[in-house]
Amino acid sequence: MKILVPIKRVPDYDTRIRVKPDGSGIVTEGVKFSMNPFDAIAVEEAIRIKERLPGAEITALSIGTEESVETLRVALAMGADRAIRVAIDADMDSLAIAKVLAAVYHREKPHMVLMGKQAIDDDSNQAGQMLAGLLGVPQATFVSKIEMGQDGATALCSRETDAGIEKVQVRMPAVITTDLRLNEPRYVSLPGIMKAKKKPVEELTPSALSVDCVSRTRVLSMEAPARRKAGLRVKSLDELIDRLKTEAKVL
């Protein structure tokens, strides 16, 4: 069983994001970058599947700059077996990413693609669904539980929807995208980091994969949203109710 796990390097969820004064992007100096949290959950889930189905092979895949190799090393230290970086310097939209992922998929022929539901920088929530569409394979998105069938040919996935939990049965190969409650990713251990150094990281290019990776979307400018002003501290419940009625007129 081969599992392909696409991961993206993004500004850490815990850093403060500031827009550059000229609106050309966000300030990156001094910003810590990490693996997209949803992708870390995907790596963790792949490792847990492998723990139950020995012989499984986990390939982490990142599309991006040289620095995305650091993020791949984290996946290797967690327990992925090998890594692929597709070298790209420009920002790409989810459709272009999905096309590159599809090209790697055809080369690797995995049984399952496990990936994040959303990258927390662009917050697009598209690439997994697009990949499944391009490949014509089933998808289960926003998944908070995966129960693999006996033979690994199917998976029963619990999806987090606006209404609650929906369980779907998907046949492999399929694309599964992770939600936050699927698992708690492990921390990398020192032995893990040592082992990761010896694991292979293959470098590919879009032209070697003969894939068109032109983005349809282009960010023209960025701005910070209007900040809400801190309002009033009320002293009591009475004052709160009174102000909501007479001042804000919402009650």
Partner: protein, 324 residues
């Protein structure tokens, strides 16, 4: 002529109010781009939804009523959308952002090799082109984005666009003959939780009462948060912390990765105000925060802040409403 195809969402035979905002966004798009709006309704037994749509200003309503669409899985729906788009050639496909549309629209876009922008909160003409404003980085950035190609996919934030107006003209309804491909094994839905009736959905309510980690168990949450919500006729919401702890169901989560709401009044009870939570509620008209920590970040965005223990204050509030 330019056309926008709006994907209509419904639950349990009812048109979702968020789709009215999608139709409202389509009218804004028509105001800058010219052209008309058509609606697409998919499902099995969609008559009531189609009826509810008739006087909302669509030039045409496409109804795709098929037994195989009893379960609206992404693979089926994307196939329907691809066939409808090929037959009717719209320039835009648009839907309200929800887990339903997020699941299937990107898949349909990929089938048609179209680009897509998620979470649009505004649009305007710049030169000859329409550009879109969207939210990213957990609400920390509003970007202006250009989308190229003859066909464009969009999801919109319902809170950012008005609902479509009812008018006198009746839309033309036309059945679309979906031809499901032979020998496909569609994804099988094994079970589904439906939203329990009784309380409004947080994305559609005028008031949302939301609870955070201050609440130690579901009974307390239900009594204190649910109690106030019911007294106010409000929806309930919660932070991720409570969903993770199994105290509230995932359908209540508000935030970057949960629901995005913008009610007239948002009442945050025992919620610290993490950026990921604020991303889902900071466009509310009036925000009230009750927290026992005077330094909680949530106060920085609250119109009215009360430093108090939610276990003491909130039941008292509920009692007063009931007493009056």
């Amino acid at each position: 002529m330019r056309k926008t195809l709006v994907l209509i969402e419904h639950t349990q035979g009812q048109l979702r109010q968020t789709s009215l905002h999608a139709l409202g966004a389509a009218s804004e798009l028509a105001a800058v781009e010219g052209g008309t709006t058509e609606a697409l309704v998919m499902g099995h037994g969609v008559g009531a939804v189609v009826d509810a749509l008739r006087s909302l200003g669509c030039a045409r309503i496409w109804a795709v009523d098929h037994p195989q669409l009893a379960d609206l899985t992404a693979d089926r729906c994307a196939d329907v959308i691809a066939q409808t788009v090929k037959a009717t050639e719209p320039s835009f496909v648009l839907a309200a952002a929800s887990t339903f549309s997020k699941d299937l629209l990107p898949r349909a876009a990929a089938l048609l090799d179209a680009g897509m922008i998620s979470d649009v909160v505004g649009l305007k003409k710049e030169g000859d082109e329409t550009v879109f404003k969207r939210v990213q980085f957990a609400g920390n950035v509003i970007s202006t984005v250009q989308l190229s190609g003859a066909l464009k996919f969009l999801t919109i934030r319902p809170s950012a666009f008005p609902m479509a107006n009812r008018n006198a003209t009746q839309s033309e309804v036309q059945d679309f003959p979906w031809q499901p491909a032979a020998n496909v094994t569609w994804t099988q839905v094994v079970s589904r939780e439906e939203r329990v009736e009784g309380r409004p959905d947080a994305t559609e309510a005028r008031i949302v009462v939301s609870g955070g980690r201050a609440f130690k168990n579901s009974e307390d949450f239900e009594r204190v948060v649910g109690g106030l919500a019911d007294a106010l006729g409000a929806a309930v919401g919660s932070s991720r912390a409570l969903v993770d702890a199994g105290i509230t169901p995932n359908s209540l989560q508000i935030g970057q990765t949960g629901k995005v709401v913008a009610p007239e009044l948002y009442i945050a009870l025992g919620i610290s105000g993490a950026i990921q939570h604020m991303a889902g509620m900071k466009d509310s008209k009036v925000i009230v925060a009750v927290n026992k920590d005077p330094d909680a970040p949530v106060f920085e965005a609250a119109d009215y802040g009360l430093v108090a223990d939610v276990y003491e204050t909130i039941p008292e509030w509920t009692r007063r409403i009931k007493g009056s």
